[in-house]
Amino acid sequence: MFPIENNVRAEREARGMTQSELGAAIGLTRQTVAAIEQRRYSPSLEAAFRIARLFGMTVDQLFRWEE
């Protein structure tokens, strides 16, 4: 598990989006979105910014380094 926790799943579900829809909006596959949500993959900085911008949030609101 990667040390960066995120609340992508909660924010996505709050907006009524599927993993596939989120992936299509930011240029990722559904499998990669699932891997990010389950902390099996740390997205690139660009992908993190894309997700945050899509949700109208900042990157640090969405991703946090777990101490």
């Binding site: 992936g23 299509a24 596959t29 559904r30 499998q31 993959y41 660009e46 992908a47």
Partner: protein, 137 residues
């Protein structure tokens, strides 16, 4: 399974089956001029068959895929880079082994040896891609 995973699986299976059949057929035939002409015709048939299977197979995968994003994304590009790295080393080893055909074998045999090296390297590349994809799932 993502479109790229299915695509790699299709490429691996079709390449192993079609080119495997070609190399088995060529290996079993005695080397004489008549068979060499037949082998070249068989090679053309193999290349065309592989292209047709790839085109039809990928068209079916694209139509039936539920993924809204079909291109290779950053995570899969990482898998692809590592797989290509392994495939490159397999190709180099295969090409070096193909040099052995200089010892008495004809031009056709050398060509087939180089083709075999390319096919094995591509199969290795697809296998590593599938392995990395599967491990990360």
């Amino acid at each position: 399974m993502s479109f790229r995973y299915k695509s790699a699986l299709l490429s691996l299976v079709s390449m192993a089956a079609i080119y495997g059949w070609f190399f088995l057929t060529v290996t079993w035939k005695p080397a004489n001029p008549a068979n060499q002409v037949a082998n070249v015709a068989l090679l053309v048939l193999t290349v065309v068959l592989f292209a047709v299977v790839q085109a039809i197979g990928h068209a079916i995968l694209a139509i039936t895929s539920r993924d809204k994003y079909g291109a290779m994304d950053e995570r899969e590009r990482g898998f692809d880079q590592r797989a290509t790295n392994v495939g490159y080393y397999v190709l180099i080893v295969g090409a070096l082994m193909a040099i052995w055909t200089l010892r008495g074998a004809g031009g056709f045999d050398m060509g087939y040896a180089v083709l075999l090296a390319i096919v094995v390297a591509e199969c290795a590349r697809q296998m590593v891609f599938l392995f990395l994809h599967h491990r990360a799932a």
